[in-house]
């Protein structure tokens, strides 16, 4: 556990500056700062954290605590990279006045999250520049699913068709091109409305949440041990990252000490998940500019890792490996050697794949200066992960807020500023190389220090999760920062589980990156972000 001492001076400073406006403040046992303040002070505190401590507002969500505390809370999660810690600020919302002050105008990064609070809790975001529904589609009845008095199994009237009013884009020769929700490829559903004049895209409106499955509500209905499997199904391509974030949140809430061997195994598997997804994306980007041969090679490498996953975890997507407290089984000597051998083989074959792509001038020509996301826009929208690092956002949870075994491993975080498809590809290429190196280091540590790993050595023993505990779980998934925030209830259940997939943060950036590009380049631009619909919609 990373109890960060860097937060204590920050809390002292905030106490000095905001004095009586701070209603309560404490550092939790796992080193997260929890502050409750008067809603009026919120924007001032937010600005202060930004300016003075380089904080990043990474999550905004609500909680229905009417039963216990007689109010709603809105929570704001600030990541403070220099202090390697998180500050969670909450404000009380009285049920008689169900509204909160919107921060979107100052911090556009929270646009969708504030609107989601409106949809899910019926709290109004005062001053929001575009307060329309985002999570619940326009035809939904007037329900707010995350309210405690809304029953999970409520039967709603059947879907009658989208009645969403898109923004009008007018002018001579302007056409609208609607696409989806069922797409042409084997991908997830969502609706894109392109406004075009000739070939270039003037404006792209993105309508998501077609795959909304009630996941956050479901977490409140099942034992936390079942929740691990639900976490694996938030976004299938990030099964292991999401389940790790979920387990870590509960381990922190329960004050568990996860054995080092389990942390090393998680690290290995997280990197394998990164590799198979990055390799697949590299191939898919090549396909989208018609370099299909490169994709055939990439898919072989992806299969190489998926089969390795099966041999290490019994499942090709690494499902069923995580558990609260550690992992379900250790790795045998034979499996570790297998992992080493595959990495040795991958290294050479991956270099050849990269060489193939980078020596194809016609491919590079299509990728360079395509779908540019400027560092300025990326910063304003709070873009994270691969897309952020290609646009100058130097952020990596593994380095800034170490978890699992990353504290003791050496790796480089690639950052570029060009922000085009080519550089999102380059970030992936660099990261695959770093992942192979991380795996090498973790395997060394695992085989030196933890040669014998009986079942007991890979899981912390626990029986009861203390109720009423709050904690964050954070993971740098292959796409970017994944956050889970939990508040525990009695009987190993959850009062609230907030999920934030990096996709939610990054979707609006796609609208910006595509502007001025031609529609035929949309698939490759979209692929270079490769955002999860399911992770966004939950």
């Amino acid at each position: 556990m990373n109890v960060s001492s860097g937060l204590a001076p920050i809390l002292d400073e905030l106490r000095r500056k905001f004095r009586s406006q701070i209603e309560s403040a404490e550092i939790s046992s796992v080193g997260e700062v929890y502050i409750q303040i008067d809603p009026i002070t919120l924007s001032g505190l937010c600005a202060h954290l930004y300016r003075k401590f380089h904080a990043r507002l990474t999550g905004v969500f609500s909680e229905d605590c009417r039963e216990g505390d007689g109010c709603f809370y809105i929570r704001y999660v600030f990541a403070i990279a220099p202090a390697h810690g998180y500050v969670v600020v909450r404000t009380r919302i009285a049920p008689g006045k169900p509204e909160f002050i919107s921060l979107t105008t100052a911090v556009p990064a929270v646009n969708w999250q504030e609107r989601e609070i409106q949809d899910m809790f019926g709290l109004k975001a005062i001053g929001h520049p575009n307060p329309h529904r985002v999570a619940l589609h326009d035809d939904w009845p007037d329900v707010h699913p995350l309210l405690k008095d809304f029953d999970l199994r409520t039967k709603l009237p059947p879907f009658q068709g989208e009645r969403h009013h898109f923004r009008e884009v007018e002018g001579e020769g302007v056409f609208q091109v609607p696409v989806g929700p069922v797409h042409a490829g084997i991908i997830e559903p969502g609706h894109f409305l392109f406004s075009v004049a000739g070939e270039p895209v003037l404006y792209l409106q993105i309508r998501l949440f077609y795959t909304h499955k009630g996941i956050e509500k479901l977490f409140e209905s099942m034992p936390a041990t079942h929740g691990v499997f639900l976490a694996e199904s938030i976004s299938g391509d990030s099964s292991f990252s999401h389940s790790t974030a979920f387990c870590q949140a509960l381990e922190r809430a329960g004050g568990m000490e996860v054995p080092m061997a389990a942390r090393l195994i998680r690290t290995l598997l997280l990197e394998l998940e990164r590799i198979y997804n990055h390799v697949a994306d590299i191939g898919a980007i090549a396909t989208d500019v018609a370099f299909v041969v490169a994709n055939a090679h990439a898919m072989q490498l992806k299969e190489l890792i998926l089969q390795l996953n099966d041999r290490l975890a019994g499942n090709r997507l690494l499902r069923g490996m995580n558990r609260i407290g550690g992992v379900r089984r250790g790795l045998e000597t034979g499996q570790i050697q297998d992992l080493r051998d595959v990495m040795d083989s991958l290294r050479g074959r991956f270099d050849m794949l990269v060489d193939l792509i980078f020596s194809s001038m016609s491919t590079l020509d299509r990728l360079e200066n395509t779908g540019v996301l400027t560092p300025q826009t990326a910063g304003d929208l709070g873009v994270v992960g691969v897309a952020g690092r290609a646009s100058g956002i130097d952020l990596d949870v593994r380095r800034d807020h170490p978890y699992a075994a990353y504290d003791g491993l050496k790796f480089r975080v690639p950052v570029y500023t060009a922000g085009d498809v080519l550089h999102r590809l380059k970030v992936r290429v660099d990261e695959v190389c770093e992942s192979i190196s991380i795996i090498g280091q973790a395997v060394e540590q695992l085989s030196i220090k933890h040669a014998s790993m009986a079942r007991g050595d890979v899981v912390a023993h626990w029986k009861i999760l203390p109720p009423g505990q709050c904690a964050l779980g954070f993971v740098e998934g292959w796409r970017g920062e994944i956050l889970h925030w939990v508040r525990t209830a009695e009987n190993n259940r959850l009062e609230r589980c907030k999920i934030k997939d990096p996709s939610l943060q990054n979707w609006p950036a796609l609208s910006e990156a595509i502007q001025g590009n031609i529609i035929p380049d949309f698939p490759v631009v979209n692929k270079s972000f490769n955002l999860s619909y399911s992770g966004t919609d939950r």
């Binding site: 929700p181 069922v182 997830e188 077609y210 499955k213 479901l218 299938g236 019994g314 499942n315 020596s359």
Partner: protein, 291 residues
């Protein structure tokens, strides 16, 4: 150009021999849990630990009905850990597709002890499913059947009706060089209007219901629907809730169910193969003659 050719030449043939040869999964692959019902003394711990209620227990005075539903199973393997008498074994079987939803369900009736444990097995109620040999024969005739019925090609439109995208990962793998579904004359197409089969994933969310119906209506007859994964078969871990309808057959008729979370590429191939058989039956029925 030379580099491209050399690399392809060096790669050689990478395509799997499946279905001519059996599936090769790892020794620890978690496939179908196999139940030794007569040995099972207490089903309650397994039912309690199962995240998707694929194992359910219903007691009626001194009798107990245990229901096992492979359509709900996510193959986590927890049930095997919850049976100290070793009545549950996690096998490596993955070819689990069936034509009838009921074929995925097994029920076992027990006489109960006073302490709530199972005294002895009374009977096992299970519909006989497609035998392994039938599928093997189908595998050999697969290519000819497609050639015969559909003029050498089966066109599939994939529809994600709210999946977590896990099933999509494996479906995409079917199109790669290793599983290479095109070797059977099967193609994934961009529009339902070109499709013979809809391969549907996800529990069908409320927001995708209409899109799924419209896609189905746009697919010309005779059409096949294959429900993929625990979610497609039953709603999986999402089940039925305000946003999830709980399975593809809640919305459109389904011809074949492929369990798995997600099903591995071979399991998908096996299910698609079963569906082609089903198509033949459909054609006989609708045209009144053999094809």
């Amino acid at each position: 150009m030379f580099k491209i050719l050399r690399q392809s030449f060096n790669a050689g043939v990478v395509t799997t021999d499946y279905p001519a040869k059996p599936v090769e999964t790892s020794p620890i692959f978690r496939g179908r849990p196999v139940f030794d019902f007569s040995r099972w003394k207490d089903a309650r711990p397994a039912a309690e630990i199962c995240p998707t209620s694929a194992i359910e227990v219903k007691d009626d005075s001194d009798a107990r009905m245990v229901t096992v539903d492979y359509g709900k199973c996510i193959f986590c393997g927890l049930c095997a850990d919850a049976s100290p008498e070793k009545a549950i074994r996690i096998s490596r079987e993955c070819e689990l597709a069936v034509q009838n939803r009921a074929d995925l369900v097994i029920q076992a009736k027990y006489k109960l002890n006073r302490d709530g444990c199972q005294d002895h097995l009374i009977e096992i109620c299970k519909t006989p499913s497609i035998s392994a040999s039938a599928v093997e024969v189908a595998g050999k005739r697969f290519k000819e059947e497609i050639a015969h019925i559909l003029g050498r090609s089966l066109h599939i439109r994939e529809v994600d009706a709210g999946s977590c995208n896990g099933c999509e990962i494996e479906i995409v793998n079917l199109t790669g060089p290793v599983y290479d579904i095109e070797r059977f004359g099967i193609h994934f197409v961009a529009s339902p209007r070109h499709a013979d089969m809809l391969l549907v994933t996800g529990p069908v969310t409320r927001n995708m219901e209409l899109a799924l119906r419209k896609t189905y209506e746009a697919t010309p007859d005779p059409r096949l629907v294959v429900a993929v994964g625990a979610c497609g078969c039953s709603g999986g871990i999402f089940g039925e809730n305000y946003a999830s309808l709980g399975g593809v057959d809640k919305v459109i008729p389904v011809d074949v169910y492929i369990p798995g979370c997600p099903p591995c590429p071979q399991a998908l191939l096996h299910g698609i193969l079963l569906a082609v058989q089903r198509l033949q039956q459909k054609l006989i029925k609708s045209r009144g003659r053999s094809v």
